[in-house]
Each structure stands twice: as structure tokens, then as C-alpha cells.
Point group: D2
Chain length 349, copies 4
């Protein structure tokens, strides 16, 4: 850490740094020109060297994990919370009261839904911080930049919703499509998290492919709510996720009928216009997760297919679908260009 | 080859034995109790030992590849044609004229569509054997058993159509669903064939995922035509195939609205009833390609999801989607139980 | 189950049927012409339908899991034990005393080493059944056929030892090589078992590759002990296993200096001679795990490389490396041809 | 491209930009703070937009491919040649004569061997530029920094030699080991290049694993020659490469006897000391290619195993094994810190 960087950089705290979103933040922030990683917490690894737990960081980070408690984040300009839902809202509520100048970017689901939906989909109890929830900004910069810039708490979007909304929301907003929407998403296995489980055990996952949680996945209400909000009208969404034998990437294939008179050329032209100045979102010919792997980029396209238009988007679920987007939000909150410190070129092959 | 088997067995010829469907026929037939592999042709490998070209067969087969011409199949009871479309119809036409007692099972697309659709989707020229085409049976035993049993030429279905039709056709026939149908299929890479290509090159395919040929895939008219035929009414189908980084397997996820008053429980009950006595098709809780890998089995299920019902089927594209189904058709043609010589248990992990 | 088969078939019991070796036994035995699966036990799934726990068996098996205790195996001609080491020896000891006519094939490590090595490598305590241990046969039929045929307890070899011994032991026995041997083995992930763990979690295992347990793997003494026994002289073995991102397969690459005057051609000729009549082991040009996948076959070859000869073998770790070899042993014990009911052709692709 | 960067940056040319090493250079250089990509050539894609051919670069690069001829590189400070061997030496010879101030970093094999070995291993003809060859520096900065800094032509090392030499050369130089060396390397499939081939076709490569070119691989003499050179004594090397079903990464497992009295602790201490100040090479506990994926880092460790010491190294074959090391050499040639613009943290998962 050179002196100059330390003087001018954003002091960053990470709550829950051992999971995949936490370690991805560490990967990306360790090369960020304006961020200084000051504290990383983990209750399961408190006191252990981060670079021993996460050997990819060998030589890059000398910190050890601290205990996850609000006091740990004293002095931080921004805190990324990678805690599980429930625990995350509690930490953010407590720490934001304690450190009112600190910004919070929550990678859990705790600030993405309204109170009623949260209660319905996340365990049946009231939201632990309804006041904060009402002031949190939904952190999809391409669609919500102005609101995010002024927020103290940013709800970093879910991975599936990021993919679905980048493909559909601008079109819905422009009235080019109106639903009902079928969203058929295919995710790499890192979306299942770092904890070993039957559903992500290599021999049961490799050379395997299945839909899961059909009609029951918690990202379904998130997609419907924000698609409705961006469109200004209620959107009906049938969301079906699938698990694909690859580490990273979400391909979203969505189906809807275009508005009367709207052609697929109109839709492609809308993509071109809406995303013309975006550093990360591009309208491309072939939409393949490989082209965005490891990067914060998103690719979209659309095709006519019988009565329906097929929309596709590709993102890296851990970058644009999680930690990269969180850093994009951080850049935005602190007045930097949104793309600093974030890879834009996918790692192919 | 013991004497008894040779005396009573079906004498088999395979045209085009070096590709994936050909080698899969060899794998399956080498253990079939009632089949004797008599001749295997390949123009690219004429004269070479089969077990040298296909080392998995080491110790199991002493034959060499012969030239692909109708004369090669003299004495065969059945010929499987694994030639490319066009070439396949020509061989079948010539050989069936020459050997009128021989049965033909065509794994190409040449006998799957009607003449007009064939001309439209396969190169713009008239079908080379329209008379044979009109008498060929569509070889999906679970839906077309009686017709197949009497045919001399069987059109073995495409891999995607097999998956889509097993999930949808019985329901459409019963009037439980009526479309329009969205068919979102995900295939392993062996579906692309054995010839190396950019689209199936390992480093460009592994950790990659993309839709391809959207609105243009040749299996689209095959699905629509036979779904319409089995249902007795015109079916509108939007078909979108995807390439998934795994060797084998097709997961088909389809979306349609149920007929008025029909519930997902009705649909599941229909699966149970229709497939109750089938040796290969089963209604299961979780539909995953891993559970049918290497076998001729197919798994199906359905779920409610918003306004739509989601239908899923899983097959091994090279077995139930190609060579296994071809052998099932052979068993049927020769009066054997349909399941002899065919694996029914998927290889997991 | 038809009546005739039940009358003449081998009545099979499986202890511990939910793991990978157990479910692989079920896959293979469900199509075996001379075996009848009578009882399958699992303490974690007692009372549950086998085909619900293992959906690949849907339609093939109506049994439920029973409790694992020696009484469960009353009436069995043969019992395969897939229990963990320690528990396996206890069950075999108790059940073999109770049912003296029953044969036992133990897939754990409990009967593979001598008592002293067992104590050293498996937990520090004395072997629970030293008398049985002294009479158990090491179940590698190609090298130990006569002894196996007369045994009541067969120690089914470890997966790595099977690969290493098929490549090296016949040569050592003939004096063509004498060591020290370097054995560099690469295994698919199913070798880690069915229990989810950090080391087999898909996102941490796919696109990953590492040596593990270097100098400490429990298969090292098994290789050294049996290589020494077959060769008739002490063999020094340095064994290093690696975990490769694939489901199945072990490729063993071994290095040793040939005996003075011995060429690689002599070694290849020895493979040809020794394995000439074997149904499962073949000397081939290219050694690739894909060519034996899903089958009980093993492929071997050797090359000169500088001062050393490089030996390679390929097996499917769950078939020839576990359950397939166990069935081969069963066939041998009951006087059948060793290859009945066992696939010999690898599933490619 | 901002004005300031253009004014002070290294003007870069790339010959042969469509292959994997070329596109990896583009990925890495597009984010390099001191490099400006000025010209990229490709004879197969001349005139086409780079970002259309390589969609991962969408939005990052507006250049089109130019024809590959020496004139194209007028004005470049450095040229990376990614041409095939033979063609590369010819271009470098011609262009270096034409532009004497330009530096050349050759990613082909043309400047890695001496003239006699080149003739023996690369086609039987004399080296096309023997004079340049004699002055080229072997571009492994950790072992040859001082020589590289003064060179005009840098021979970027092969991927396998990079992995083997980082593990063995410092130890050989210190006399801790002396060989003979067994080098058993396992590579991801991107090492086979971008051209589709039978050996890298997805269905024939996934779930497959094999040694290849045993005793015949062209990296064998490169390892032996430079290991000998760094050690100051002739090294005997038996090199066996394997193809592993993953995109990137080389794990090298090497075996040798330590010098008398040398322990594995001495070897680990030597790694710690030799690599203490290196930005990219680290002695770690667990050596896994996943921890260096996408980065220019290399991890090494060693273990005792019977009579031998086992050495392991992990690199990303396209970064430290090719394009990343080439940029490290560029940084060195132009007096920058070696690590600028290069990722140091592996992408996990």
C-alpha cells in the first residue's frame, strides 16, 4: 500500500469475507486504484491470515480476519456486507446508526424487496430495519444511477435479477414489451455459494443439468417487483432457474410478445440506444457467458422466434451479478468513474 | 460370436459407423443378446479395423470398416443409416429397392418431415425418395408403436424432438395443453457431432453457454409437425436450443398455459397414466440429465409457475435421442421386447 | 424378476447401498443375468425406497433400504460390503460367523493390508478380525484368480492400486522392471465419495488441479505391499495422487527403469502376452480414461522416455476400480465367466 | 485512450492476434496503464474489427486487424509475435532489421533453443536467423532478469518449461537437487491452441485424460537445455505431458532425489528465500492451478515421498505460461515495475 493511495483512497470494510462474494471483492479490490481494504471480518476464521484461507491472495494482502461486529468497521468509508440475509440487515442497521457517514452496500437480499414481500419470501418475520429498507436504493446503476448516488444503503441486486433486468427492464420501460414474461435462467454453480452441499457436489453436478426451485426461487419476486417498478406497470414473471456444470456465468433466456407493431429490430435499436454510453453493458451478436467471464460486463441481444421475441443476457454471476456490481456502486457513491478498478474484458478461453 | 446367437440373431448393418451415433450403436449392439453386427461402413476409414479407430471397442469387435454402398448390406436384416441427410435417403432408397426384405432405420433427418418442409429446411431441393418418405414411420415408440411395427423404413427422431415430444405430445393429445409452446432446450456438446469445429472446441465450449440458431434450428419444424400430428391440431412452437458444457444429455424446459380448468396435478396424473407401462419413460420428482446418462431412459415432470406450466424432460441425446431409440425401434420391428439390450439405469455419477 | 432367474440366480446383499460404490453395484447388478438383488442396507435411509433416493433406478428396483445389521443378510449367497473401513470388517466378521456359506466381497480397505500395516495406516488400532484377514484373498482377478476362487472373503482392491498394479505387477513379476517406482496418479472426483466436502465442491474443483496427500495416501502401502508380493521382491513406491475435474476415471502414469537389456518393446510384448486372454485388460496404443468410462475394462501401454520407461493405465475408478471388479470377483467365486453382466465397451463420448 | 497515456505509453504491436496468446495479450494490455495497442495483425482476419472477432473485447478496442508484414509495425516500441514457429523468426528478423529501436518478444518457439536443437526438433532445417538467435534472451524474468533487460529479442518461454523451471531451476542452481528429473505435467486444453482439432474437440476431451507425445514433445529439449544452463551442469529430463479437461492451467509434478543430506525443509527454505521478493512466484502450502487462474502468478511447493522429493508448480498457461510473462518481459525491457498491468490474484472459483 503506498502512502499516496492510503491518503486518498476509500477505506473499505468487508463483513463476511470468506464466501465467494467476499473473496471476489478481495480479488477485485486488491487491484482497485482508489480503494484500501482496511478490515475484513469472518466469524468462522477470526484471527486467521486471509491469504492462508484464500491462497489466491498470497502476496497481496497481509490482513487477518476480524470478528464480525459493528465496531470492527470504525473508520470505514464504505462497508460491503456479504453476510447471510437477516444477519446482514442487523449489522447494517447497527453499524449505520453507529457510523452515520459510512456507506453500506449490502450483497444479501435484505434490502431488495419491500417489507411485505420480504416477510413472505424470507422466513415469515418482519423486516428487522424497515426504516432503512424504505431508504435503500436498488443498486443496478444502469437503471437507477441517480438514486444510488444519493443513498446511504445500497441493495446490491441478486445475480438472476441483474441478468433478467438488464435484458428486459429498459424495453419494458419504453413500452416495447409488456409481458407476461417467461424467464429461463441458467447459472454456473458458484451461485450456490461456498458451503459444500449435495446439490453442488462435483460428481453430482458435473455432466448434470436440472431446473430447481421451480416457482419457488426467491429471486422471482425480486425480478417481478423491480421489472414492474422500472416499467411503471405490473409485470407477470414466470422464473425458472437451472444449474449448469460450469463455475461462473448466468445466461438468461427470456420470452415475451412484443407490443403491437414492435419488431425485433426495434428492440435491438433500443438496446443500442439505451446502452450506448454504458461501460459495461453491450448489445452483441452472440450472447455467451464465456465472453464476460471474470469481468463486470453484460452482453444482451434479442431474436424473433415464432410468436415470441427471445431475449438473452450473459453476465458473470460473481462480478456483474454480485461483487463487481457492488464495486461499481461504490465507485458511483464516491464520485468516481463507475468502471475504475473493474475488469471489462472477459477471460476467454 | 457363439453359433446359437448367430443362428437366431438379427443381422445388422450400419452405414456410417465412425460418427457418434454410429459408435454408440456399436457400443450398445456389441452387448445386445439378439443382434449380430455384420457390416459397418465408413468411406473415410474403409479397410481400417473398427477397434483401432474406436479404441473403446478393443477386444469386442474384429471387423473392419467397409465402403458405404448398397451392396455392402446384402444379407442384413436391418440397416441403420448414420449418414448425413441427403446421402442417407439416397442409400436407403437404393438399398431398399435392392433388398426388399430388409428393414431400414434412418438416423438422419431425411424421413422425419413431409416433402414440403424437407425442401424448405434441408437445402431447397425436392426429397430424393418421396414415395419412401410417404410410407416411413416416425420412430417414437411411446407415441407411434403400432405404425412403426409395420414399417419398412423408420425415421428415427431428432434428439431435441424426442425430448420435447415425450414431455408435451401426450398432454396435447389429451387436450390438457394446447400451446403456443415455448421450448427452451439445453444440449450437451456431443449433439454437435464428431467433426471438430469452432463451436465445439473445448476451450471455447467449456465454461461457456449460449443460445444458438434461434428461430432457425432444423429441429423446430420437426417438433411442430409431430406435436401437431399427435395432438390432432396445429401447434405453434418457439424453439430455442442452447449448448451446455457437458458431453451428453438434453434437458428440455417447455412452457405453455394449461387448458381451462386443468391443474398441474392433472398433468402429472396424465404422465403417470400414459407412461405407466413404459420401460423407458418415467415421471419423476427431479428431472436431471445425470439420471439418464448412458441409458435409453427419459424422465419427465411438470410444475406450476405463475400463469404457465413448466414441463421438463431429460434424455441422453445419443441414446434415447439417437442410437438407443434406433435399437428400441429395431427390437419393435423384429417382435422383441423393446428393452432388450438397452441400458435402463443412468450412469451416476 | 422372472421365476427362472430367481431360481438359479446368485442372491445378493449389499451393505451400505447409498454411496457411490453401492449405487454402482445396483446399476450393474440390475442388468446382471445371474444375480438377484435381495437386500440393500443403509442406516441413513432405512425404510426409504431405493429408487427414490437414487432416481436413476426408477422403474428398475422396488426394494427399500433395510437397516445395516448382519441379520439382514440371511439367505444371501454373497454380500458386498460398501461400509466405511472398520465398520466393514466388523460386519463381515459377524455375518460370516453367522452365515458360513455366504461369500463376502469387501469394498472397504479392511482386508487389503496385513495387520501391521492396517494398524499403522488405519487409525492405530489392531485389526478387528485378524483371523479373517489372514484368509482373505486380494481381489485382483488378472493377478490372483486361483486364490480368489477358493476364498470366502475377498478384499476388493483400492482404485489407485488397481490401476498401478495392472500396469506394473506383471512386469515386475517377470523381472522386466524392478523399481524404485514413481506412481503419479490422476483421479476423477467420484473417488472422493458421495459426501459433500470442500475438496469436492464443484466451484472449487472444476477448473482446478492439485496433488493431495503427497506421501500420506492410504493407497500407497497397498500398492507397495501387493506389488512386492506379486513380484516376489520388495518394491519401493513413491505414490502421488492428483484430483482432476472429471467424474470418473483414473489415469496412472508410472516411471521406472527397465531391467538391464530390457526394451520398451519387450514390455509391450509382455503386456500382449500376459493380457492376451483377458476379457477386460488390453494393451492399446493410446491410453485415455474416456475409452474405459462406465466399463470394467482397463487399458495399458508403455513408452521409452529418456532413462525411464513410462507406464500408463486407464480404468474407471467406480467400475474396474471398485464395483465392477467386485462383480468380476463374484462371477469368479460362483463359477461363471468373469465378464457376465459387466460392460466392456467404454462410453465415448 | 486518453491523451496523457498516449503520450507516455509504450506503443505496442501484435503479430498474429487471433489465436489464444494474441487475444490474451489484448485482454491484458487493454487494461495496462503504460501500454497503447497500436497495431494488431492477422492474415486470416485482415480488415475485420477485432472486437467482432473477439467479442469479449466489445467496447474496449476499435481497431481492425491489419495484414501481417513487417511494415505494419512501423512506429511500435515493442512487437509481440504470436505467429507459428518459423514464420515468427522470419518476421522478427525482417522487422528488427527494419526497425532497429524496436524490441521484440517472441511467443513462438523460434528463439528458445540453440541452432542444433532447433534443427532437430523443429522441422530439420537450419534456423532462419542464427545471428538473432545467438543474441536472444530467454525470457524467464525470475531466473534471467539482467540478461532480458538488455536484450532486443526476448524468447518468451514455453508454457511447460515455465512451470518446470520455476519449480526446479533455482534448486538445481543451488545444488539441492541434480537429477535425473521426471517431469509429469498436466495441462488445460487451451494449450492446444485455438484451431479446432480431434484432440481438443469437447466431447472427446471432456471427461477424458491421457498422456500424449510421450518422449516426443518439443518442450522436452527446452526444459532440459535451460535447466542445464541455469544449473551449470547437464540435466537429464524425462518429460511427459498430459491433457486435462479444463480450460487453463498447468500443474507440473516433478520427481528427483535430493542431493545428499538435503531435506525437503531445505528445499522449502530455498523457495522462500529465492522467491521472497518476487511479485508473482510464491511458495504455498497447497499447489492448485485454480489459485493462479487468469493471473500471472506461480505457486510452488515440495514434499518428501519415499526416496524422492516431489516438486509441484501451478501456473496459468496463457498468462505466466505465455502472454502475461510476455508483458512482464515488456515491463522489464522498458524499465517499469514488472508487475504493472498484470493480475496477481487468481480467479477463484
Amino acid at each position: 500500500m503506498n502512502y499516496l493511495k492510503a491518503m486518498t483512497s476509500i477505506k473499505v470494510g468487508i463483513a463476511g469475507g470468506t464466501g465467494y462474494t467476499g473473496s471476489e471483492l478481495l480479488r477485485l479490490l486488491s487491484g482497485h486504484p482508489k480503494a484500501e481494504i482496511c478490515v475484513v471480518t469472518s466469524n468462522s476464521c477470526t484471527g486467521k491470515k486471509i491469504a492462508v484461507e484464500l491462497p489466491a491472495l498470497t502476496g497481496q494482502l497481509s490482513l487477518s480476519f476480524e470478528k464480525t461486529e459493528s465496531d470492527s468497521f470504525d473508520g470505514c468509508d464504505v462497508v460491503f456486507s456479504c453476510l447471510p440475509h437477516g444477519a446482514s440487515a442487523e449489522l447494517v442497521a447497527k453499524a449505520s446508526a453507529q457510523f452515520p457517514k459510512t456507506k453500506f452496500i449490502d450483497l444479501s437480499a435484505d434490502f431488495r424487496l419491500d417489507g411485505a414481500s420480504y416477510k413472505q419470501w424470507y422466513g415469515g418475520h418482519d423486516h428487522p430495519a424497515p426504516d432503512l429498507l424504505s431508504r435503500a436504493a436498488y443498486g443496478l446503476p444502469e437503471l437507477n444511477r441517480a438514486t444510488i448516488a444519493k443513498a446511504n444503503v445500497v441493495a446490491n441486486p441478486g445475480c438472476y435479477p441483474t441478468g433478467a433486468l438488464l435484458a428486459l427492464a429498459p424495453l419494458a420501460k419504453l413500452g416495447l414489451v409488456s409481458g407476461p414474461y417467461i424467464v429461463d435462467s441458467k447459472s454456473g454453480v458458484s451461485g450456490a455459494g461456498k458451503e459444500p452441499s449435495r446439490g453442488a457436489h462435483f460428481p453430482d453436478t458435473n455432466e448434470a443439468l436440472r431446473p430447481y426451485n421451480v416457482g419457488k426461487h426467491r429471486h422471482a419476486p425480486e425480478i417481478a417487483m423491480h421489472l414492474s417498478a422500472f416499467a411503471g406497470k405490473t409485470a407477470s414473471v414466470s422464473f425458472t432457474p437451472h444449474l449448469v456444470p460450469m463455475n461462473r456465468g448466468i445466461l438468461t433466456t427470456a420470452y415475451a410478445k412484443p407490443a403491437p407493431g414492435v419488431t425485433v429490430e426495434d428492440i435491438r435499436a433500443a438496446y443500442d440506444k439505451v446502452y450506448a454510453d454504458e461501460p459495461f453493458v453491450h448489445h452483441v451478436e452472440e450472447v455467451d457467458v464465456k465472453n464476460v467471464r471474470g469481468s463486470n460486463s453484460a452482453h444482451v441481444n434479442a431474436w424473433q422466434n415464432g410468436d415470441f421475441v427471445v431475449f438473452a443476457s450473459a453476465i458473470d454471476n460473481l462480478v456483474k451479478g454480485a461483487s463487481g456490481q457492488a464495486i461499481q456502486n461504490m465507485n458511483l457513491l464516491f464520485g468516481h468513474a463507475e468502471d475504475i478498478g473493474l475488469p471489462k474484458v472477459g477471460i476467454t478461453p
